[in-house]
């Protein structure tokens, strides 16, 4: 009997505590910046697509919800011909972001992705690609990779010497 009264009393005391419940969606909750929400593909500081279609996100994905195909422009720069994420399978684990060597794939704070039909959760590249660099403003993979692309010849990277003259005999 006493324990019941004590329980009622405890509940009654809660009337005077600070409210935890948020009246979503009228009131938006605060989402921490490292939240793992909707996935995007970002661009490098020069505006080029960051994704080089290395397939590491796809292989890291534990549910296999990322599919893509690599293609190459006429200067040898890699990009994904198509890039598909099936968000109806995604578990937002963030492994793809960790695996990405070019900071291209990033998880954002957006979680409001409900749909009535599952197929509306299949995002293609045009749905994923944003126009900015996202969380990593400075990084440009092609400035440190050894490949030559349009506007950057061999030896023009950070930390690279000019190409070797194969016919030279100097030490």
């Amino acid at each position: 009997m006493f324990s019941i009264l004590r329980a009622i009393w405890t509940v009654f005391l809660h009337l005077f505590r600070r409210k935890v419940t948020v009246l979503y969606p009228e009131e938006k909750p605060r989402i921490p910046p490292r939240w793992r929400g909707r996935i995007i593909l970002s661009r490098d500081p020069d505006g080029g697509e960051r994704c080089v279609a290395c397939y590491l996100c796809a292989v890291a994905c534990p549910v296999g919800c990322i599919a893509l195909q690599a293609a190459e422009d006429e200067y040898g720069r890699r990009y994904p011909e198509f890039f598909r994420i099936n968000f109806s399978r995604c578990i937002f684990c963030g492994f793809c972001e960790e695996a990405c060597p070019t900071c291209a794939i990033q998880l954002t704070t957006d979680f409001e992705m409900s749909e009535y039909y599952r197929h509306n959760l299949v995002y293609e590249k045009e749905d994923l690609l944003i126009s900015g660099p996202g969380k990593h403003p400075g990084y440009n993979f092609y400035k440190v990779a050894g490949l030559a692309i349009k506007g950057k010849d061999k030896g023009e990277n950070e930390n690279e010497s000019p190409p070797v003259d194969v016919k030279g005999l100097l030490p």
């Binding site: 919800c65 490949l147 030490p171």
Partner: protein, 935 residues
């Protein structure tokens, strides 16, 4: 019982029994230890250049200090004591890899080698994780190396494997190492197409991404995403084992599949890059029947799912006379067998042209009838004397050419061995051998790419080649029939030399085949082998056959295709079923047209061609990577190839179409490949080994219910690949014909050798993982190499008698414009299927006619001048090419190049010079141009 010849070595103080005459690296890998290496390659042995395989060696069990040695340069001798885990050795190896990585670019995400990179694997294995150097990286400019190989020189770690393979192993001459010290550059003297027909192996030999597959780059996929299955190359008769890889419904690449007895570690570029036809836009994907439209033109009516069989059945049941079946040497054994069942043995015609049929028949009668053994490719590479009779080996069967390049080293290497140099010490052996070569003799119609290796070469007409062969046989054993009259002087000089070399050799091999188009040449080769056998040798007799299942079809039997033409002309054929065959390749155009003029023609094929364009009904057949079946190689080895992926549309294996037709028309019922193979083995004892060529479909690894997966365990995108079409994942296709599944789930250990879909082991993502699948390095795969030899020499019974039928010496025609036209072969072009692949098509030479310059002078002084060639009423317009190796009175015709088919060679042809009044047309067959479906 333990082999007495084994010795004991100690690794980490534990005794192990290993074979002597090996290096310690070899021994460690054979025993299953993980020891990093770069410059060592199991086929090219040790040079000790990269310093990566350092281990600690101890004098005895009391020696605690030890010394660092390179395992690859340390002989495995009795009592050798090493430690791989010694801290000093571990640190040394991690420092070496740090040096190697100094200049290695930050490229892995955009590098095609990533995920199957030996450098990645070894870096992880040694534990080097962080780049400490702040200095600048050296860079290199790349070269254009042709349509097959991509060059990215920045990634090079200077292991020298590429030059050692390309120049030392494969005999290339247009590739090398340039510059000095840390600037060394591996490439060509200038940009250009790599000339060796083995250039594609650089992709697998290079431990990192300097050389990568250029055709894969066009539709790049990582190794872990490729669905793969064991397969057999279909571009020549040797039956090399390959691994095709598929992604998103298209074939992405071909990789070598190790088979110790057949192709070993390498395949040729025709096999590696000839896969493009499978992805062709022009593929037949749906069955259709042809009707006559209102205005008289042809209309193709597509048949929906399930409608093809009733239609075909109604055609067959409505046949007003005989149904004849025409088989194909490029279709599987099962398809040919079921066609034979469907048409009945008396109406089954092997799909060879008249002459090829007789040649293959003779080869089979020699192989099955006699006590002479046909060697495997590995045995050819170990031969110590070789005589090639009438065959352009590198052109017709490139991998046999690579085997011959190794065979000429056997004798000098044995000499080096006698002076105490171990075979694995590659550089020392090369220094000892220098340019010495073992005996190789070549008699061919024209110069071949291995002529520079030969001790003696004879170029002449097929008659003279055959006479040389008969003379050699007679010189070895006087009771063998000798040719009457004199040989050409060049040949006569060679006879005693060849006979002496073959007689003194311990493992002589005679190579011949259908290439010369001469029965006498094959008979002469058999005579030499028999004469050697009677002088107490165990000779090998190896025949080159033109197509991947020539021997299988030959063993299956069937009548000559010419008889089918005769039957059609006498109106004895009402319905003709053509299996994966273009009759215009095999017969002259009037003959093929006569045969296809039957009331009903059903063609089963995967690409449109002239025959398909004349068919009344077409069934879409699976290409090699889309179906399961068995092929019989030139050594009589039955080998199973497996469906790599399920193709789109209504494509089925030919044998499945035929099995369904057979059942629909009231014949026997076959549901799976095993049913067909069992029936085949029961019906024909020669095929008794076919079911044993690979495990049956109900095979499971011991005690397990699960199948063996085609997809790697890291296969990605399973829930996204089809999501754009349907968000519900489709059920994986069922495979009733094999113990393999279209899935990433299943048995993840080491499967039986015939079912190895990829070489991968934990920590070994690159192709170097093959070490983990072999019972010893460079030896057979665990459980024996795949395939089952159907033909073994009869130990008793009637011995083959000597062939007589020696042709008279070749005499020039009295008429100076008449020439004996002989076929010439090209690695790229002579095989029609691979030439349909775009990168290979780039390298197919344009048609020409090769003439001796002396002869050509009668017509024109200028190379490239156009002439008209008439062979048996078929006219070709071709530019002249001067070739001093061709005998006078003989002309070389590059058979199989675009437009150059439809004649049986050798044959007499008339050459006419250009006259006014000729229509200006490009080179090629005059009547053949612009024909529908002429591919």
């Amino acid at each position: 019982m333990e082999d007495k010849k084994l010795i004991t070595v100690y690794i980490e103080d534990k005794p192990y029994r290993v074979k002597p005459e090996r290096s310690m690296l070899d021994a460690c890998l054979t025993l299953g230890f993980d020891l990093p290496y770069f410059c060592w390659h199991p086929a090219m042995h040790s040079v000790g250049a990269c310093r990566q395989c350092a281990v600690k060696q101890f004098r005895d069990e009391n020696d605690k200090k030890g010394m660092l040695v390179m395992a690859c340069m340390t002989p495995a001798a009795e009592g050798v004591r090493i430690s791989i885990k010694d801290p000093e050795a571990v640190e040394f190896r991690s420092k070496v890899i740090e040096w190697l990585m100094l200049n290695h670019p930050h490229d892995c995400p955009v590098c095609d080698e990533g995920g199957e990179c030996h450098l990645q694997d070894m870096t992880v294995m040694t534990g080097h994780v962080y780049r400490r150097t702040r200095f600048k990286k050296r860079t290199h400019r790349n070269q254009y190396l042709g349509p097959f190989v991509n060059h990215e020189m920045n990634r090079c770690i200077q292991c020298y494997r590429c030059v050692r393979f390309y120049n030392d192993y494969a005999g290339g001459r247009d590739f090398g190492v340039f510059a000095a010290h840390d600037n060394v550059y591996f490439g060509r003297q200038e940009d250009g197409v790599l000339q060796s027909e083995f250039s594609g192996n650089l992709v697998e030999v290079c431990p990192t991404g300097v050389f990568t597959d250029r055709t894969l780059k066009a539709h790049y996929t990582r190794k872990w995403d490729l669905q793969t299955a064991p397969s057999i190359c279909v571009h020549c008769g040797l039956g090399c084992n390959v691994i095709p890889g598929e992604r998103y419904g298209t074939l992405r690449r071909i990789r070598n599949r190790y088979n110790g007895q057949v192709n070993g570690y390498f395949i040729c570029d025709r096999g590696r890059y000839g896969y493009g036809f499978v992805n062709s836009e022009r593929r037949i994907r749906h069955p259709y029947y042809v009707t006559c439209g209102a205005s008289g033109e042809k209309e193709e009516n597509k048949l929906d799912e399930g409608k093809a069989l009733p239609h075909a059945k109604s055609l067959l049941q409505g046949a007003k006379g005989t149904i004849i079946g025409i088989g194909s040497p490029r279709a599987s054994l099962e398809a040919n067998y079921l066609l034979k069942r469907l048409s009945g043995p008396e109406n089954f015609y092997a799909g060879f042209s008249g002459r090829d049929f007789n040649l293959v028949r003779r080869i089979i009668s020699i192989l099955t009838g006699g006590p002479i053994r046909t060697p495997t490719l590995k045995e050819v590479a170990e031969a110590d004397a070789v005589f090639v009779l009438g065959e352009d080996v590198p052109g017709a069967a490139p991998m046999l050419g690579l085997a011959l390049r190794q065979a000429v080293r056997q004798k000098p290497v044995e000499a080096a061995k006698k002076s105490g140099i171990p075979v694995w010490n590659d550089y020392a052996v090369r220094m000892a051998v220098q340019n010495d070569k073992g005996p190789l003799f070549i008699a061919a119609s024209a110069a071949t790419r291995i002529d520079p290796l030969a001790e003696g070469v004879f170029h002449g007409a097929p008659e003279d080649i055959a006479r040389l062969g008969f003379a050699v046989a007679a010189a070895i054993r006087p009771d063998a029939p000798a040719p009457q009259g004199a040989l050409p002087e060049a040949a006569a000089r060679l006879v005693p030399l060849i006979a002496a070399r073959l007689k003194t050799a311990s493992r002589p091999v005679i190579i011949s085949g259908t290439g010369a188009g001469s029965m006498a040449v094959i008979g002469a080769a058999a005579n030499i082998a028999k004469s050697l056998l009677e002088s107490g040798k165990g000779p090998g007799l190896c025949f080159v056959v033109p197509e991947c299942n020539s021997i299988g079809l030959g063993l299956l039997g069937g009548k000559n295709l010419k008889e089918a033409v005769a039957a059609a002309r006498q109106k004895r054929a009402d319905t003709v079923i053509v299996l994966e065959n273009d009759l215009f390749d095999r017969l002259s155009a009037p003959e093929a047209e006569a045969l296809l003029a039957a009331r009903q023609v059903i063609a089963i094929d995967h690409l449109p061609n002239h025959t398909v364009s004349m068919a009344h009904m077409v069934l879409p057949a699976a290409a090699f990577a889309e179906g399961t079946g068995t092929l019989v190689s030139n050594e009589g080895r039955a080998q199973r190839f497996y469906k790599v992926y399920v193709p789109g549309g209504q494509i089925e294996e030919s044998w499945r179409w035929l099995a369904q037709l057979l059942a629909a028309t009231g014949g026997a019922e076959f549901f799976t490949l095993d049913d067909v193979d069992r029936a085949l083995a029961e019906e024909m004892p020669v095929f008794g080994g076919v079911p044993a060529a690979a495990p049956p479909a109900d095979f499971r690894m011991s005690g397990l219910e699960i199948k063996i997966p085609r997809q790697p365990h890291r296969f990605s995108g399973r829930t996204a690949i089809h999501a754009d079409v349907d968000v519900h994942e489709p059920k994986p296709p069922v495979d009733p014909d094999s113990p393999l599944s279209f899935s990433m789930e299943g048995f993840d250990g080491r499967p039986p050798s015939a079912l190895i879909s990829r070489f991968w082991a934990p920590g070994w993502n690159s192709v170097q993982a093959v070490n983990k699948f072999q019972s010893e390095v460079g030896g057979q795969l665990h459980g024996g190499d795949p395939g089952k030899r159907l033909i073994e020499p009869a130990s008793k019974g009637p011995s083959l008698s000597y062939f007589t039928g020696i042709p008279p010496a070749f005499k020039r025609a009295w008429d100076k414009s008449l020439f004996l036209i002989v076929p010439l072969y090209h690695v790229f072009g002579s095989d029609r299927l691979s030439a349909l692949s775009p990168p290979v098509a780039e390298l197919v030479p344009s048609p020409y006619l090769a003439l001796n310059p002396e002869d050509a002078r009668d017509f024109t002084a200028r190379e490239g001048a156009e002439i008209r060639l008439l062979i048996e009423g078929v006219s070709f317009r071709l530019p002249v090419r001067f070739d001093a190796s061709i005998a006078r009175g003989v002309a070389g015709f590059p058979f199989g190049l675009p437009g150059l088919h439809g004649v049986e060679l050798p044959a007499w042809g008339r050459i006419e010079v250009k006259m006014s009044g000729w229509a200006e047309k490009s080179a090629g067959r005059e009547w053949g141009e612009g024909e529908a479906g002429d591919v």
